[in-house]
Each structure stands twice: as C-alpha cells, then as structure tokens.
C-alpha cells in the first residue's frame, strides 16, 4: 500500500511494524515516529477533501488520538497506514455529511488565494483564481463519498485497488464513484477550460 512504503524515511532505525508494536505497548517515542511519518500526509488529504484547515486539523487530531487509543485493534501492524487513512476518510465523510445539513464557509475563496504561490502574476492569478474558486464550488456539489474517493485517487495518487482497500469497499464501487465525480466535475467546468 502506498502509505506504508518508505517508512524508514520517517525513522532511520525502525520499520513500521516495530514502531506499531512498541507504540501499542505505550512507547510514546515510537508513536511520535509514526506521527512524524503520517501527520502531514493526513492533514494534506483532509484539507484537500474538506477545503477547510480547521476542520482538517480536527480530523487529523481525532484520527491520530483514536489511533493511539485503539492500536490494540490493529491486527496487522504493517497495515497501519491504510488503517489510519480509513479512519481519516470516515471522519472526512462525517464532516461533509454534517455540512450538507449545516452549510458552512469551507473552501473560502480568500483562503484559497492566501495559499497560492505568491510568485504568480496578478493578472494570471485573477483569472486562475476565478477558475479555482469555481472548481472548488463544483467539488462541494459532489457527494461525501464521491469527494473522499476522488481526492484519494486523483490527488493522493492511490490506485483504484488501494482506494478500495482504504475505504473497505469494492474496486467496482471505487470506479463508479470516481467516474461519477469526474463526470460531475467535467460538466461543472464546461466553459472554464
């Protein structure tokens, strides 16, 4: 699984299985090494999915604290990455569902502009930000499940089978969700590209 690769970059001495086994026996330093490896990736995924930094931080905090408290439930330590991405995905889906009943100002255009590379020229930036804002609005129209699935595949670079394993659904369901999301985005962006 993509997230479980390259663990040695996060900690020069210990592989992910060793870190998980030690962390679930209360070794905070080992859990810290796991957090070093995954915190930023999870935050990026949640932020891209939710479009709101504070909501994304809440998801990452909830996910990693729950991971610490329920490491005993992880029967296959090597699958730690998949396991926490599934927890984060589920929490993102919950946040998006709550938003459906309580609209918020997530993906605020001001926030989008704030983080875009400052080197972009003003003229180009105005046009690009307009398309970017529209794109962001289109993403909001996707269902919670479509959005999480599309971000995992399109932005986090997971294959269909990896997304399926992460979300605990069939590969066919993943393909269906991504196809519907791509179609909705393509239709919504007609005339903008």
């Amino acid at each position: 699984m993509a997230y479980d690769e390259g663990m040695s970059r996060g900690d020069d001495r210990f592989d992910v299985v060793t870190l998980v086994v030690r962390a679930r026996e209360g070794d905070i330093a080992s859990f810290e090494a796991l957090v070093d490896e995954y915190e930023r990736k999870l935050l990026r995924f949640a932020w891209r999915t939710l479009g709101d930094r504070q909501d994304a931080e809440d998801v990452v905090q909830d996910t990693l604290v729950k991971a610490w408290k329920s490491l005993d439930a992880l029967t296959e330590p090597a699958a730690f990455g998949t396991w926490i991405y599934r927890m984060a995905s589920n929490r993102c889906t919950d946040v998006l569902r709550r938003r459906t009943s309580r609209p918020s100002d997530a993906s605020d255009p001001e926030e989008l502009g704030h983080h875009v590379d400052g080197a972009v020229s003003v003229e180009r930036s105005v046009e690009a930000r307009t398309a970017l804002e529209h794109f962001s609005e289109i993403l909001k129209t996707l269902s919670s499940e479509q959005r999480v699935t599309w971000v995992l595949h399109q932005m986090e670079g997971l294959s269909y089978s990896e997304v399926a394993e992460t979300l605990g659904i069939s590969e066919g369901s993943v393909r269906g969700r991504i196809h519907r999301a791509r179609t909705a985005i393509a239709e919504g962006m007609e005339g903008w590209v």
Partner: protein, 157 residues
C-alpha cells in the same frame, strides 16, 4: 457527457487541479500546535496506563509504569548490534513476588546476525539494565525472533 469528453475535460483541468492541490499543501511550521494538542492527549492517556508491582531487595513494594519497565528493556535490547526490540512483557516473580521479573520479548534481527551469541548478549544487556535501573534481577528472559530485516535498513551499523 461521453467518456471521451470527460477525459478531455479532465486533461484540461489538470492545471486547475494542480493549483488546488498546491493551495492545500500544509506548511510543517503551521502544524506545531496541532502536534502539541495530539501529544498532550497522548501523554495524559499514557499516564493512566497500568503499573507493574515490584519489590526492593529489602522487601519494600513499589509500583512503576509498565511502559517504563518495557522502555528499560527495549533500550537494552536496541543496544545490541543487529537486534531491535518489538514487544516486551515483564511479569513480576520471585519470593516475595516482584523481587524479580520474567521477561518475554520479540525482536527483529538483522540478516546475517548469528542468533545464539546475539541472544546471550541481549540477555546480559537486559539483565544488567534491570539491575542497574530498578535493582531487580531478571529470572528468565525468553526471546523470539519474529522478523528479519535487511542490512541496508539499519542505520545503527
């Protein structure tokens, strides 16, 4: 909308998608507070973890965090070249109970490490550490090798 036109729009959207992704790339400096919040909760939770009851050589009972006992053992194991501690169980034993401990541990071993001498070194290192840091002897130290790692993975030589 046909699949072909979805694909074509998808390709044209690449620039916008890249820009969206770039807009949501967290700066590590801005995540410091998040990390602090996470580890404050983790440390509070760890403080509630179970303790191990031991007894000094003078017969006085004391309690120590089980995670701390495991930490002493792990550091001793990790100090042996080619061996990395994984799971550690410390069971109070002796008479009176807790005047000694039985240790059961699993380890990962670097490929090419000869087990028998390495295991003896681990036993010596663990026994010395428990005596030095807790004043408690290890009656029994059982070691199970559950994994072998490639030499190039090790940064500790």
């Amino acid at each position: 909308m046909s699949d072909e036109s979805v694909d074509a729009t998808d390709a044209h959207l690449r620039g916008i998608i890249d820009e969206y992704m770039g807009a949501f790339e967290p700066d590590p400096e801005e995540s410091v507070a998040l990390r602090e919040r996470i580890f404050q909760i983790v440390r509070e939770d760890a403080a509630l973890a179970p303790a191990t009851k031991l007894t000094t050589e003078h017969g006085n009972p004391f309690r120590i965090s089980t995670a701390e006992v495991r930490g002493i053992v792990r550091r001793a194991v990790d100090a042996v070249p080619g061996i990395r501690a994984r799971s550690v169980t410390a069971t109070p034993t002796g008479d009176p109970e807790g005047s000694a401990v039985d240790i059961t541990l699993t380890v990962a071993m670097r490929a090419g490490t000869v087990f028998v001498p390495a295991a003896e070194e681990v036993r010596g290192s663990v026994a010395d550490a428990l005596t030095a840091e807790l004043g408690i002897p290890a009656m029994r130290i059982d070691i199970t090798v559950e994994d072998v790692f490639a030499a190039e993975e090790a940064a500790d030589g």
